[in-house]
Amino acid sequence: MANLTGLLFAGGLGFMLLSIASGLDFGAPPMLVGSEIQAQAPQQTGAVNIVTSVVLGYRAIDTLGELSILFAAAVSAGLVLGRRHTTAGTQSRGGFILQCGGSLLFPLMMTIGFYIIFHGHLTPGGGFQGGVILAAAFFLPLLARPGAKLHHQSLSLIEGFAGASFILIGLLAMLEGKAFLQPMLIQDTLGQLISAGTLPLLYLAVGLKVGAELASLLSRLIQTEAPQ
C-alpha cells in the first residue's frame, strides 16, 4: 500500500515539477541583480571572486545565519548525544601506514586549508571548503589512533570566538558609522591578498567556525560509545 501511494505520489510530483520546469527558459537568466553585482563588486568589495563578494558582502547576513545553523546543529547534536565520553570508539586502531600518513598529512592539510581560506576572494574556494579541510585535518588523527582525543576546550573556544568575531567585525563597521557587516578598508588594488579589506578576515572566521563545528560534530559522532 505504502509502495503504491508512494509511487503514485512520486509520479504525480515528478510530472508536476516537470510541467512547471518546462515553462522555464534555460541559459538566459534575467540577471537583474547578478549583472549589477558583477559591475559593482570589484569596487564595492574588492573581491575578484564575485561569489565571495556575494557571500561575504552582499549577502553576508545569510552567511551569518548559516554559521548559526551549523552552530545550532552542533549544539543540538551535543544535547542529543549527551556529554562526550572520553572512552574511544570501539573500532580497532588503524594500521601503521594510516598512523604515519595521518601524522604526515596533518600539517599539509592545515596549510592547504588556510591557503584556500585566505585566497577565497581571489580563487575559487573560501571559508567553507577550507573549513571542511581543516575539520578533516583535525579529524584525521582520530581515525588514525582512536585513543587520541581532540582538545575540546580549545575547540569550543574556537567555535565561540570565530563566530563572535564575524559579528564583531560587523558591529565594528556600525561603530564606524557604516551599516552592519559593511566591508571596510578596501584597497583599490585588485587581486592582492589584502585588497579585499576585511573579507579575508571574515572568511577566516567562517573557516575556523566551520572547521571547529564540523570537527566537534565528527568527534562527537565517533567518541560517544557505540551501543552494545
Partner: protein, 491 residues
Amino acid sequence: MSTNLVLTIALPLLGAFLLPVLMRSSVAIALWSGPAILIYGCWILAELWLSGFTQPVSIAIGGFAPPLGINLYVDSLALLFAFAVQLLGLIFWPFTLDRESARRQSLMLLLVAASSGLALSGDLFNLYVFYELAAVATFGLASASGSSAAYVATLRYLILSGIGSVLTLFGIALIYSQTGTLNLAHLAQLAPQQLNNGLGLAAFLTILIGIGVKAELFPVNTWVPEIYATASTRLSAFLAGLLSKLALLIILRLLLLIFHQPEAAQVILILGILGVISGELAAWRAKEMKRMLAFSSIGQLGMIFIAMSLPDGKGMVAVIALALHHLVVKSGLFMLAEDWGGAIQRLRGSAKASPLGAALFVLFSLSLVGMPPLPGFWAKFVLITELAGQVEPLYLLGLAVFLLATVVEASYLFRVAAILYGNPAEETLGEEIPKSQGLALLSASLFGAGLVATALLIAPVGESLQAIAAQALDIDLYIGTVSPVISGGSQ
C-alpha cells in the same frame, strides 16, 4: 536610531556563540547575559515605537542598496512582531539550571534571533535561512527534554520540515529564474509582469507548503501534536504562540506583495477550512491538556488562514487581530498547562487548589471561544462580517465551518473547565491535586492581564489595528520605502 534594529538579530547570535565559553568561565554572567540581551532588545524596539514610529523604514545590511544587498523592512506590523519575539523569548526563557543549560540557552537565543529575522527581513532567501535556523534550534530544544518519545517526534518533525525546505528551495529557484532577484520589494515591482502566471503560482504553492510546516498549515502539520506533547511546555508555547505566527507573516507578505492570483487565495482557503475541521474535531476527544491545546491551535491557525484568503486584503484586520489574540491566549494556556499537563481527568478539583489558575483558564477559554466583551469576540466578529460579505460559496462554507467549529471548541474547553471546578473523584482522592503555581502561573496571569486590558481598551486597540493593517496592505508604500533600483540594468 532605527539601524539599531540590526542588534535585535546580531546580539542574540553573539550571545549564543559566546554562551558556552562564558559558561565555562563564570556561570553567573553566562546565566544573566541571555536575559540581559533580550531586555536590551525589548528596550530598543520599545524606544523606536515610542519615538513616534509612523513611517516604515528599510535598513540595508552591509550598506548595499536593497536589490543587491539584503534589507530589513520595518513597518508597524514587523515591529510589533519583533517586539513580541523579544518579549516572549524573555518570558519563555529556559531558566532551569543544569549541565545542559548553556546549550539550551544558546539554542534559545538562536531561536530568538531567527524569529526576529523572520519578522524583519525583506529578502526571500534570507527569510529561508532564518527559517532553517529557527527550525534547527527548535529541533535541538525539542529533543532536549531527553525522553525517547521526544527523539522520535523530533526526527519526524525534522524530516517533514526537510521536505518543506526542499520545496521552498525549489520555489525560490523558480522565482529567481523568472525574475532574477530575491528582494521582496523588487519582486513586488516585477510580479505583475513576470510572476502573474502558472509558474508564479507553482512557486507560491511550493513555498506555501514549505513555510506551512511551521505555520501548522493543514497537510503538513502532523508534527504538531507529537512535538507539543513531548517538548517542554515553554518551547511549545513559543512555537504555538509565536513561531507559527511568524511563518504566517511570511506567507501573508508573499501573498500581499507578490502573488495576486485568486487561485493562491483559494488554495489557502481550502487548506484553512480543512485545518479548522481537522484540528477542532481532533481536539474534541483529546484526553490530555497539551494535545488538546495543540489540536486547538491547529484549528485556530486554520481560522487565520481562512481570514488570510479573503480577496484584496479585506481580511487583513481579522488576520492581525486573530493572530495577536491567539498569540496571547495560547501562550497563556500553555503556561497553565506547564503544571496541568497530562490527563485532563487528573485535574478534577484543581480549582480549589489554585483558584487563580482555574480563573485564568476560564478567561482564556472564553476569549478563545469568542465571548463578547473579550478581544476574541471582536477578532471573530471582524472575520465573519468579512466572510459573509463574500459571494463565493466557498467562503460561506468557511463561515459555516467556522461557526460550527466554535461550538465544538466551546464544548471541549468547557468540559475541562467543568472538570477543574468539579469535586475530586473518589479514586483520585489519594493523590495530590496538581496545582498551577510559580513562574508559570505568573506569566500566565501576565497574559491574562494583557487580555483584560485589551478588552477594556478595545476601541483604541481596534483603531490602531486598522492603522497597522492599512500600512501593511500598502504595496506602493513597501516598494517606495525599499526603493529597489537597478541603475545600469542589463536586459
